[in-house]
Amino acid sequence: MLADVVLEPEITYTRPAALADTYTHYCPGCTHGVAHKLVAEVIDELGLRERTIGVAPVGCAVFAYNYFNVDFAEAAHGRAPAMATGIKRVLPDQMVFTYQGDGDLASIGLGEITHVAARGENLTVIFVNNAIYGMTGGQMAPTTLPGQKTASSPCGRDVEATGLPLRMAELLAGLPGTAYAVRRSLHNVKEINRAKKAIRTAFQVQQAGLGFALVELLSSCPTNWGLPPLDALKWIEDQMLPYYPLGDYKVADGVEQL
């Protein structure tokens, strides 16, 4: 008679292989780390580790090249889309993605990202929107919320003087070369899982040669928001979501079928 079914533990979740096995410089609770993990998981799952080239921004993710086990280039501030264009045009069969912050993509690099979308470059862009300049110590970004206090808007962002925040997913969705432009958030597990799906789609869009794909990720900066990490996630939910609604802003023909 047989009995006592022995269950041996199996790893069901661990760091993805495309994520380098190393300590990161990110602040405690910063969801840049989550974004990295998701991208690495997607690279693993799609089997792209040996044919992906990443482009890191200038911003807190400047060292992204240390954290992924794929070929990587480190761009000048805001120019990752141009750099990625150069790579992709020469190596159209490789998967090329940029990973950019909101200062990098929406402020200094607005011209480059918009042209990349306009041309329909076959690139995947992971856009980490934390409504602030993290790396330089918390200055206002084009994505900073109205009234949000930052080191360079000490009395809160004054929309009279600086306008309303840029909604990049919506803006880039409006360009004909954009095949996929969505906004997701990293503030809880459910949204993280949805974000991962979007990242996967954004890579598949590139694989299928459908054009420009952007995933905007609402992300926390506990350090420069001056909030404990958990409160920072709450802040995303309470403050950012109303201004930055999650959703699919462009899903071109052919993307659904992927």
Partner: protein
Amino acid sequence: MAKQLLKGNEAIAEAAIRAGVQAYFGYPITPQTELLEYMARRMPELGRVFLQAESELAAINMVYGAACTGRRVMTSSSSPGVSLMQEGLSYIAASEVPCVIVDVMRGGPGLGNIAPAQGDYTQIVKGGGHGDYRMIVLAPATVQEAVDLTRLAFDLADKYRMIAVVLLDGSLGQMMEPAELPPFADGAALGTPPAWALTGAQGRPKNVVTSIHLVPEDEEQFNQQLQARYAEIARTEVRCHEYATADADLIVVGFGTAGRVAQTAVKQARAQGLKAGLLRPITLFPFPEQRLAELARQARGFLVVEMNAGQMVDDVRLAVSGQGRGGLTPAVRFYGRMGGIVPLPDEVLGALKALAETAGHTPQPSPVSCLPLDGGPVAR
């Protein structure tokens, strides 16, 4: 191959294509535009990459990216456009990825005009971007040389993992002259992508191209490596053209078109009995400073001719400083035209004659002192 009548800009483009350039990124600007337009026609025909970038800023960063793949890539522009590339150039230099830049200079500063000039010497040769970096700089004086130096630029760029610049003025870019094009570089010569290149990390550990060295000690060490490479190049890659220098006691120095014009002036001077000679630097970095130092031992005066307010002249001064007989410094005079005016041989000849009459003495400083911060007398 027989000679063809070629426009400088187009000749450079075709030479680059034959050197195996795989991707061109650029933005229109006079007087360089024919180069871009030639690429727009030819590159797609050959199944290579041509992309008109949205700006020079984007172009240089596309070049940066494409160069990371280890393929031969290039851009071209003219003075204001090159100013916009300074950040990118500093990054590329610091990342040690090879590429070729063509600067067809025009009158400045500012928007200036579209006439030929040489006002970018400093920004190109000394590095107009931040930090200590150098680019190999090749200065053709004829369309044939433009062709030859374009090929060389790619070879040197690859050899040293550096930026190589072909620097010329708008008149050479616009000029047609007979020249012979070299054959296409064979695939073998171009080789497989180098080990450092970003190609997708297939079957090897990942490669990274970056310009960051956050720890000062690392950054210093990296800079020392760069400087060592630059010093090596300064020893091994200097190129110049000389004319009638063997017994010359008056040396004219000029690069590109100015040097070419000066050669006519030197001929005329010889005809008039002056012992004149010409040194036309072909590499501006590395600069032919040793050769100038040698010439300083025989010459009593140097005349530097440029199409700017006097930029290379300082490098000539540095090269000949203390190198004259008895450790003295020979006279170094400058003759320059600005704003897009190309000097004529007659003018150079005139300056040469003036030099002939006065050279041989070390110039004396004029009696000016410096103010301390508060504007009062100098505290010694």
